[in-house]
């Protein structure tokens, strides 16, 4: 299992999701991607993206100016 960081601070919706999507591509099940975001839209969009693409949110820290969302890669199809 590997852990990766995506720094999406200063990026607005939907770029944080795109950065996570592009980082997740090619990873293995169980790998973790931690996205650091400043756009509160990420609180809805990253979980929504995970849900429809079969990945899992394992941790969300922070609410406003700096949000850290950790995604566990599950579906690699």
């Amino acid at each position: 299992m590997s852990r990766y960081i995506v720094d999406a601070r200063g990026l607005l919706c939907p770029l944080p999701v795109i950065r996570v999507q592009d980082r997740v591509a090619g990873l293995k099940p169980g790998d973790l991607v931690e996205a650091i975001c400043s756009d509160p839209g990420a609180l809805n969009d990253i979980p929504a993206w995970c849900k429809i693409n079969g990945h899992q949110i394992v941790e969300t820290i922070g609410e406003r100016d700096e949000i850290r969302i950790t995604v566990k890669v599950c579906n690699t199809r």
């Binding site: 607005l12 795109i18 969009d45 929504a48 406003r64």
Partner: protein, 348 residues
């Protein structure tokens, strides 16, 4: 048993593309969505920036649609390749800086390449004959199919029966009789489909989904290009046009004044790239200066404008800090510019 066919649907986040995908899904086709991010998409940017809007629900509409439909969504960052579309639209612009027809051709063309790479069979869009003045006319819709290279792999389920049968129809991958013949700008039949499919959650973006259709945004973009003598742009340039008050008091420089705390915080992220002004003696907005050859007189004028938009607008003087990119920070005492001296012509 025949193999399940696969289609990719262009998902804008609006109702029509959602219905189009749903109609094909209902026929047993495997559908996934694709959404293109050009940098000009209206997608909660202002909500994310402005403090007064921070409690509004912020959701990406395309993701919301994909969730409703239970389909995968692929979001493609096309900021760079989209520049060629905006800068040299073969079919010209609409009422503002919107190259709608070229934009549609571009997106369908990207979708066509996507289906080749991902081994999908055809493309779905939510286009309706006669709904949009540029890209959704009876004479331009065949152009989109042809110039995108999608040809008859492009299915428009909402209006397919007004158009010649496409390959998915001729091959029986979808039943043409279960497609629709909607035309024009009325939304009645789409609303009936919403009812029929039991759809309860969908976005109704007022004024469309692209900033380029907006007159005020387009004016700022034209001003940016004219002032630089070049139509080059980066993502940050076009994002900044969505934030703050833009005033051009002199031809060689523009100031961007945050309108409230959320915008100030957002502009903080850009302050290292611009000379900027902060009010010190009174609460006030962060002001960025964009231009070349900015003189001390220009800075003084910009500081007076910044003071005008601070809590010290009625004070005799306001203390400000001025940070020049090339020479560091200094302090100034300025008289706020009276409202009558802010030329309305400065507003970009």
């Amino acid at each position: 048993m025949s193999e399940q066919k696969k289609a990719v649907a262009l998902i804008s986040g609006g109702l029509d593309s959602m219905l189009a995908a749903k109609i094909v899904q209902e026929q047993g086709v495997h559908v996934e969505g694709i959404n293109f991010y050009t940098g000009f998409c209206v997608e909660g940017h202002t909500h994310a920036i402005r403090r007064k809007d921070r409690d509004k629900q912020k959701r990406n509409n395309a993701l919301r649609v994909a969730e409703q439909l239970g389909i995968k969504l692929h979001i493609a960052d096309v900021v760079e390749p989209y520049k060629a579309v905006l800068l040299n639209p073969r079919h010209g612009y609409g009422a503002n800086m919107n190259p709608c027809l070229d934009c549609k051709i571009f997106m369908v063309s990207r979708a066509r390449k996507w289906i080749e790479t991902h081994d999908f069979d055809f493309i779905i869009t939510g286009e309706v004959v006669g709904q949009r003045p540029m890209s959704q006319r009876r004479d331009t819709m065949p152009l989109v199919s042809r110039q995108s290279g999608a040809d008859d792999l492009l299915l428009r389920p909402l209006c397919a029966r007004n158009l010649p049968p496409t390959l998915p129809e001729r091959q029986g991958w979808v039943d043409r009789n279960r497609l629709y013949d909607i035309s024009g700008r009325s939304r009645k039949r789409q609303m009936a489909l919403v009812e029929e499919f039991g759809i309860t959650d969908y976005a109704q973006p007022a004024g469309g989904c692209c900033f380029l259709t907006d007159a005020s945004y387009s004016a700022k973009l034209r001003d940016l290009w004219a002032s630089r003598g070049s139509r080059e742009y980066e993502l940050d340039d076009i994002i900044l046009l969505k934030v703050g008050r833009h005033l051009r008091p002199r031809p060689h420089f523009k100031i961007i004044v945050a309108r409230e705390e959320g915008e100030t915080r957002f502009l903080e992220g850009y302050r290292h790239r611009f000379s900027h002004i902060r009010t010190l003696s009174h609460a006030g907005p962060l002001t960025l200066l964009d231009g070349d050859g900015i003189t001390d007189d220009d800075l003084h004028l910009a500081a007076r404008i910044a003071a005008r938009y601070s809590q010290g607008r009625d004070a005799d003087t306001v203390e400000v800090s001025v940070t020049r990119q090339e020479s560091g920070t200094s302090k100034l005492e300025v008289t706020p510019l009276p409202p009558g001296e802010i030329d309305p012509g400065w507003t970009v």
